[in-house]
C-alpha cells in the first residue's frame, strides 16, 4: 500500500515537474539559461569523454595557439556525440543538468532559496558523478582508471568499468530526483503566481 502511494506521488509530481519544465522552456530568459547550461555541460563532458588526454594537452608545454586548437576540436566532437550510444548518454546528462539549472534559477528568483539550494547540492553530486564516470576504462581512457590502478593494480580496469556504470546510473537518478522535486515546487509557485495575477485582474 505504502509503495503504491509513493509510486502515485512520484508519478503525480513527475507530471507537475514536466508541466513546469515546459512552461519555463517557453519563457525566453529561462530557455536561454537552459541553452547556455546545456552548451557548457556538453562542452565539458565532451572535453573529458575520452579521459584526461585533452586535459593533459592543455597542461603540456604546447604554445597557446595549439592549446586553442585543442579547445577548437571539441566543437565538432560535440556534434559527434549524436552518432554513438555513449555520446547520447553524454547528451542526456547535459540535458538533465541544464534542466536542473533552469529550475534552480526560477526557484531562486521566486524566493524558494531552500528548495533551490537543496536541489543544487543533489544535482551537483549527480553532475560530478557523471563527470567521474566518463571514459572507457578498458580503452585506457577514463578519469577513474589511473587512481584505481594505484590502489587495485591489475584489476583496476574491471573495477573502474563497474564503478563507471554505477556512477552513471546514480548521476541520472540524482538529476531526475532534483528535476522532479524542484519541478514540483516550481509548479506550485507558477500556479500561485497565475492565481494572484488573475485575482488582481478581476479586482
Amino acid at each position: 500500500m505504502a509503495v503504491r502511494t509513493i509510486i502515485e506521488t512520484v508519478s503525480d509530481r513527475s507530471k507537475f515537474a514536466l508541466v513546469s519544465t515546459v512552461y519555463l522552456l517557453k519563457k525566453r530568459k529561462y530557455l536561454l539559461s537552459f541553452l547556455i547550461s546545456f552548451f557548457v555541460f556538453l562542452f565539458f563532458l565532451t572535453f573529458f569523454r575520452d579521459g584526461s588526454s585533452n586535459w593533459q594537452l592543455i597542461w603540456s608545454g604546447l604554445p597557446l595557439d595549439r592549446k586553442l586548437e585543442v579547445i577548437g576540436k571539441i566543437f565538432p566532437a560535440m556534434l559527434e556525440n549524436f552518432i554513438s550510444l555513449y555520446g547520447v548518454t553524454i547528451i542526456f546528462l547535459s540535458f538533465f543538468q541544464a534542466i536542473v539549472i533552469m529550475q534552480i534559477i526560477f526557484a531562486w528568483r521566486n524566493r524558494e532559496k531552500n528548495g533551490a539550494l537543496d536541489s543544487a547540492s543533489t544535482g551537483g553530486i549527480g553532475a560530478i558523478l557523471g563527470f567521474i564516470a566518463l571514459g572507457c576504462p578498458s580503452c585506457g581512457v577514463g578519469l577513474l582508471t589511473p587512481l584505481l590502478s594505484a590502489i587495485a593494480g591489475a584489476s583496476a580496469v574491471a573495477l573502474a568499468e563497474t564503478i563507471g556504470h554505477i556512477f552513471t546510473i546514480l548521476a541520472f537518478a540524482l538529476l531526475l530526483f532534483s528535476i522532479i522535486r524542484l519541478g514540483y515546487i516550481n509548479y506550485v509557485i507558477i500556479g500561485s503566481k497565475n492565481y494572484k495575477e488573475e485575482h488582481a485582474k478581476s479586482h
Binding site: 579521459g51 588526454s53 576540436k73 566532437a77 559527434e80 554513438s84
Partner: protein, 240 residues
C-alpha cells in the same frame, strides 16, 4: 541536519573528482626508456634525441585511431618527426584487453604481431592488421566504447589472412609461430612489465617527460592526424 549531510556529500564527491584530476596530472609512472623489441621501433636508438613510446593493444579502439592516422600520413610523420626531430618511435604491444577480460582477440593478435616481428616486418603486418580491424569493426561502431557491441571471438585464420596480402610475411611461418606459441612468453612478459608500471589501460604514451593516457581523435574523421601532431608537439615541448 539533512542540508549538512547533503553539503558534506557534495564536498566529498567534489574532493574525489579533484583528487582524480590531480592524480592524472601528476601520474607518477616512471619511464622505461630501454627498447623492448628493436623490430618494433623506428629511428636510431644510438643517436635519437627523443624517445616516443606507445603502449598498445591491437583491439584497443583508441590505439587504432592513433595508428590509423599515422599510417595514413606515414611519409609526413617519418619525415617531420622521426627524421627531422630525431625521434625513436617505439610500439610496445601488450594483450591488456585480454588480461582485463575485455577481448579474447587481443592475445592471438598480440602473438601474431610478435611473430611478424620475428620475420622482420612488424610494421607492414601491424598497419595491415589494424586497417583490417578498423574496416571490419571499429569503423562500423563495433568494439569502440563501453556501450557498443563487442567484437566476436575471431579464429586464427583472421590473423593468417593478413600474411597473404604481404610479400614480406610468410604465411606458413606465421602459422607455425602461432601454433607453437613461440611469442606468447614475450607478449606475457611485456604485458606484465607494462602493468608493473601501473599502466592498466592503453593507449598510454610516453614522450620524454610527457605522458598521456587515451587519444582523443574523432571517429568520423578516420585519419585524425591533427590530433597526432598535437600529441607529438606536446611531447617535443616537454623536453625544451
Amino acid at each position: 541536519m539533512q542540508k549538512a549531510i547533503r553539503i558534506g556529500l557534495l564536498v566529498l564527491v567534489a574532493g574525489f573528482l579533484g583528487t582524480l584530476v590531480v592524480f592524472n596530472i601528476l601520474n607518477p609512472t616512471p619511464p622505461d626508456m630501454e627498447t623492448w623489441n628493436n623490430m618494433m621501433a623506428k629511428g636510431d636508438p644510438e643517436t635519437a634525441k627523443h624517445h616516443f613510446i606507445m603502449y598498445t593493444d591491437i583491439f584497443c579502439p583508441y590505439c587504432d585511431k592513433f595508428s590509423d592516422a599515422v599510417a595514413a600520413n606515414q611519409e609526413e610523420f617519418e619525415k617531420n618527426y622521426i627524421e627531422d626531430k630525431n625521434i625513436l618511435f617505439e610500439i610496445r604491444v601488450t594483450d591488456m584487453n585480454y588480461e582485463n577480460g575485455h577481448s579474447e582477440n587481443s592475445r592471438p593478435a598480440g602473438e601474431a604481431v610478435y611473430c611478424a616481428a620475428k620475420q622482420g616486418d612488424f610494421w607492414s603486418y601491424y598497419y595491415a592488421l589494424l586497417a583490417k580491424v578498423y574496416k571490419d569493426y571499429h569503423s562500423r561502431g563495433i568494439g569502440v566504447d563501453r556501450t557498443s557491441p563487442k567484437i566476436p571471438t575471431l579464429s586464427d585464420e583472421y590473423f593468417y589472412e593478413i600474411a597473404d596480402s604481404l610479400d614480406t610475411i610468410d604465411r606458413d611461418k606465421l602459422v607455425s609461430c602461432m601454433e607453437n606459441d613461440e611469442t606468447v612468453k614475450e607478449l606475457d612478459d611485456n604485458t606484465a612489465k607494462a602493468q608493473k608500471k601501473a599502466i592498466n589501460g592503453v593507449p598510454y604514451f610516453v614522450f620524454d617527460k610527457y605522458t598521456a593516457n587515451g587519444f582523443a581523435g574523432n571517429w568520423n574523421t578516420k585519419n585524425d592526424y591533427e590530433q597526432v601532431k598535437l600529441l607529438m608537439d606536446a611531447g617535443l615541448a616537454s623536453k625544451s
